[in-house]
Amino acid sequence: MSLKRKTRELIKRREQVISGGGEKAIKKQVAMGKLTARVRIQALLDKNSFHEYDLFVEHEARDFDMDKKVLHGDGVIIGTGTIYGAPVCIYAQDFTVAGGSLGLMHARKITKIMDHALKMRVPLIGINDSGGARIQEGVNSLAGYGEIFFRNTLSSGVIPQLSVILGPCAGGAVYSPALTDFVFVVENISKMFITGPSVIKTVLGEEISMEDLGGAKVHSEITGNAHFYSLSEEECFEQIKKLITFIPWNNTQKAKAFPPKKSKSEYKVEDIVPSDPRQPYDVRDVIRAIVDDSDFFEIQELFAANIVIGFGRLDGDTVGFVANQPKVLAGVLDCDSSDKAARFVRYCDAFNIPIVVFEDMPGYLPGVDQEHAGVIRHGAKVLYAFSEASVPKITIILRKAYGGGYIAMNSRHLRADFVFAWPSAEIAVMGPEGAANIIFRKEISGAEDPEEMRKIKVKEYKDKFANPYVAAAKGYIDSVIDPEETRNMLVHAIKISANKIDNRPAKKHGIPPF
């Protein structure tokens, strides 16, 4: 056989495998409003950059007549490519082939590309669209999941890992996304749960739809399992691409710097924040007023919206922002917002991204539900994460910094590198009303007009302590700044911290309050 003929045969074989689960299955996939695995990869990666491996892998299952079945590529596509020139390793489960079910060879393909990503120190993107374990392959499919989870853990904090849920992802399969850094979901397409509606109905008698149990909205708003929510696969791919521009390829590098840009003039820092600390505003506008091109890329927008996290650039460099959001629940810390902030701080720390905190919070959310949900250990995560982080850490106190919240939100005492306060800052052990009630209890209750006395005492406390100067006098904050100076101060603080060295005692690892 001549080389030409052999090459023709290769092309024929390729075409066969690339057809996936065949026309009928592809039609079904499209009818569900979903793209096929290969189309997804093409849509996400730079044009013509994708190179596929293990195309001709075949399963080795023999039981239950599996030996008579041909499963093209064993239901998963793996390969490498680029996103805006950044190298990535990628896998995409092909639902048209045996429902994207995970058998031994399917898992082996995934772990191969995972090993590759870790070795090459490049981001890993996993597109999940699978019915779950391939039951016919029994314990081999469980072994496959385990091998994936182990590698997710091994790679955690070394290379960025992104999970894209574009179909069902149920049972054990959900744990791979849960172990990765960012989870993307799409309305009506993504479904994640440990036990599905049918099991819940038979065992518990509770009836619920897949969407209500583990749809995109549920995981974006209620559980916090997802980080990015979108209405279409195309929008989802745009989010992934944008995220890739903000993060480094691995933990030994810094995120790519972009040409510096000014923030847009429509966001004016001094016009956003009301001086009355009890009035709400959208803290994201403060971030937009500060960052390059006013481009703030928010993460977990819908979950625990009382804290805001995300990326922006300052003078071209990526910065991770953590900000209390007075617009939602007055910006309190609670179980969910603590989890959200702490995890993001650890992400930034692992990947050499400086952290900027905008603080304006009245304290912790009171309530039996919070206490019983373990707000103590959840809240402790914030302390742990900020204390542990050794990247440049800067705090700007906009208004309220009361009590435990003051300590938790990257205070000097947790080794913030710079703490700045606006003149509107109130750094105190608690809010003026609460403090006056305790300190002046006798004077208030003994007064002829207790209400009037309370007002007088609250004002007295406010005048004396509800300002940044008491903390400034002790050096707990480095500077009281004009709000207009915020961007310049931050840009300078980050530049000056570029070579920060913060050595910590050697240990295997800490024991964070998980």
């Binding site: 008698g205 709400p280 939602v328 007055a330 959310l365 539900d369």
Partner: protein
């Protein structure tokens, strides 16, 4: 475009803050003091065997009934000492989560 929601007030340490509530906060369940005399199902299941009768004096720690749930037969242990006032289920009967099974006087 975001729809403008009306501000609500949230009191923290005596100060009243204007803000919005999120879904989870709005949907939170108010805590009520549990009544030990009322035995409710923690899981849905069925009664395998009733070990006590109405009017019977029961010691704390003795089995009230055996129920099947999550493919297991479990003994329900009396959390208090008392007299059984009411039994609301029969042997073999299915019950839902939070359904009242038995009441003490």
């Amino acid at each position: 475009m975001e729809t403008e929601k009306k501000n609500k007030s949230l009191v923290i340490e005596g100060s009243k803050y204007l803000t919005h509530f999120n879904k989870k906060f709005q949907d939170r369940i108010k805590w009520v003091h549990p009544d030990e005399r009322i035995i409710k199902a923690v899981l849905p299941g069925s009664i395998f065997k009733l070990s006590v009768k109405k009017g019977q004096k029961v010691k704390k720690g003795s089995t009230l009934f055996i129920y099947e749930a999550m493919k297991m037969r479990n003994h329900y242990i009396a959390p208090i000492q008392g007299v059984v006032k009411k039994i609301l289920v029969k042997e073999g009967q299915f019950f839902k989560k939070n359904e009242v099974i038995l009441e003490f006087e």
